[in-house]
């Protein structure tokens, strides 16, 4: 089968790989029909995530058709069209039982700080991902969800990560009626978080980034205020000023470890890798939120540590809430939002690229070329 293969930082290609096999009685094999490149895949592509081995196949956002199921799989049958949450969850451990499907204890032997994730390095379990024609899906009765017949597969593929992560970012913010919400990062997750924030009744939603075309897209897609931090002398002072010198009620970090905007953070985080990428967005979020405010984090950071102003968290009495999205918990609500027309996930898709051109697709997204917001890979013969 054809699959994307990582060869080192900024180098990927498609290769022929052996077909995946059922390795556990609760596995399924899925024929992939759509697979996205996620902003967090770029951290792998840029060589920022430890234990990303040459020969790995990325991809944790995919939908497809069930080709084969293991002997203990009961809910899925061959031919079902399914969307597959990015996190691999057993449904039985004490974390899954309490709804923390992104923190499963039985899907990743290689690290305790993160559950298993498809195609996201050996730090997240060493699974091959969905940027391929076929993929092995463990715990097939738990994560995969049959796509409603009236749902567009382009909407469905974004329900595997982008929509739940954006929604949970807003949800964790504990947004109340009349709040001012500031979102750092106008990538697909930030844009979706801005759109979902409105479900909770704020009076203002502000998005901050440095890429003009993305800010323009966010303004139109998420009906929010959008500002370029490169036009400001100091984004924290700007945000204080625009909130009556009070601070935002809620700040959401949708950037993670490759943020720009602070030379010291960039040098120590991206150039020398002495911290887990740059903590710039998180630093701004902590410093721009009001006393007693909430900072919600869905931006991805590496495992060692980051330089952030933790003293200000204490002194301002800030609540920090963070997690990988619990996709399975959120799916029923989000499927309803999409079916009722309240969310339009496929509106984020700007590029569809054949799987064979995966290297071009990564470069397009990584370098933010051709006004790219979201790229979907299509395995050619199966589209």
């Amino acid at each position: 089968m054809l699959a994307m293969e990582y060869r080192g930082p900024y180098r990927v290609r498609t290769v022929e790989k052996p077909m995946p096999k059922i390795l556990h009685p609760e596995d399924a094999i899925i024929r992939v029909t759509r697979s996205c490149i996620c902003g967090s895949d770029l951290h792998l592509y840029h060589g920022m995530v430890p234990d990303t081995r040459v020969g790995s196949t990325f991809g944790h956002e995919f939908v497809g058709v069930v080709e084969e199921v293991g002997p203990l799989v009961q809910r899925l049958k061959v031919g079902d069209q399914v969307l597959v949450p990015f996190n691999i969850a057993c449904g039985k451990c004490n974390f899954c039982k309490q709804g923390l499907f992104g923190n499963c204890h039985e899907s990743n032997p290689m690290a305790t700080a993160v559950g298993g994730i498809f195609g996201y390095s050996h730090t997240a379990g060493g699974y091959d991902g969905g940027q391929a024609e076929y993929v092995r899906v463990p715990y097939a009765d738990v994560g995969p969800t049959v796509i409603p017949p009236d749902m567009d597969p382009d909407d469905a593929v974004l329900l595997t990560d982008v929509v739940p992560t954006g929604y949970q970012a807003a949800e964790m913010g504990g947004i109340k009626q009349g709040d001012t919400v500031v979102i750092f990062g106008a990538g697909p997750i930030g844009i979706m978080a801005a759109r979902c924030a409105w479900f909770f009744g704020p009076s203002r939603v502000i998005i901050i980034d440095h890429v003009d075309y993305r800010l323009e897209f966010a303004k139109n897609y998420a009906y929010c205020e959008a500002y370029n931090f490169k036009d400001m002398e100091d984004p924290v002072v700007f945000l204080k000023k625009t909130t009556d010198w009070y601070g935002a009620d809620v700040c959401i970090d949708c950037v993670g470890c490759e943020a720009e905007g602070n030379t010291l953070q960039s040098f120590s985080g991206k150039v020398t890798l002495m911290q887990a990428g740059t903590g710039t967005a998180l630093q701004w979020a902590i410093n721009a939120v009001k006393k007693g405010g909430i900072v919600s984090i869905v931006g991805v950071y590496g495992p060692p540590f980051n330089l952030i102003p933790i003293g200000n968290v204490l002194n301002k009495g800030i609540t920090i809430r963070a997690n990988q999205a619990s996709v399975k918990r959120l799916l029923p609500k989000l499927i309803d939002h999409v079916q009722q027309g309240r969310l339009n996930p496929k509106g984020l898709i700007t590029h569809k690229v054949p799987l064979e051109e995966v290297a071009d697709a990564y470069r397009l997204f990584s370098s933010k070329l051709d006004n790219c917001i979201k790229t979907v890979l299509i395995p050619s013969a199966k589209a």
């Binding site: 060869r7 080192g8 900024y10 180098r11 990927v12 290609r13 390795l23 556990h24 009685p25 609760e26 596995d27 060589g47 430890p50 234990d51 990303t52 081995r53 040459v54 020969g55 790995s56 196949t57 057993c90 039985k92 451990c93 004490n94 039982k97 309490q98 709804g99 204890h105 039985e106 899907s107 990743n108 032997p109 290689m110 690290a111 305790t112 298993g116 050996h122 379990g125 060493g126 699974y127 091959d128 463990p138 715990y139 949970q168 949800e171 890798l273 590496g302 495992p303 609540t319 809430r321 619990s326 290297a359 071009d360 697709a361 470069r363 397009l364 990584s366 370098s367 070329l369 051709d370």
Partner: protein, 146 residues
């Protein structure tokens, strides 16, 4: 006596059931047969019921990864060797390609076609800068040797 069941900072992410106090005492799925070498975090007592079996550790990078996994996720000596192993692995991949008689197409694998198509000016500046830096380094090294 003062415990407030409503004061659950992780809600709604977490639907607290009290199961945390049962620790690791839950019914696990049957274990996946281990068919390749799996490096396991030393912060857990046994391997998870399922795991990925892609790209087992091998070569020099594999030796470094085995060393890294002797240390906990808390330690730099876990993560830095893993990043170092990733860089070594990149060269191992190149050698492996050449050994198989395959010369990787660096331009295609790096997606430079997209840069040339959508960002020709910026891309030309990047290439010119890289060439200038490389040439300067070459001259400096040459001067030092002579």
């Amino acid at each position: 006596m003062d415990a407030d069941p409503e004061n659950e900072p992780t809600y709604p992410m977490k639907n607290y059931t009290g199961d945390d106090h049962h620790r690791s005492d839950y019914k696990r799925s049957s274990p996946q047969p281990k068919d390749v070498e799996i490096l396991m975090s030393n912060e857990r007592p046994k391997i998870s019921a399922v795991f990925g079996n892609s790209v087992p550790p091998s070569g020099l990078s594999g030796m470094i990864r085995r060393y890294a996994f002797k240390h906990s996720e808390d330690r730099y000596r876990h993560w830095l060797p893993l990043i170092f192993a990733d860089r070594i692995n990149m060269f191992e991949g190149l050698i492996d390609d050449l050994r198989k008689g395959y010369v990787p197409n660096m331009i295609a694998e790096r997606g430079w076609k997209m840069e040339m198509k959508h960002n020709p000016k910026g891309f030309a500046v990047k290439i010119a800068t890289a060439v200038a830096v490389g040439f300067t380094l070459y001259l400096m090294l040459k001067k030092k040797r002579s």
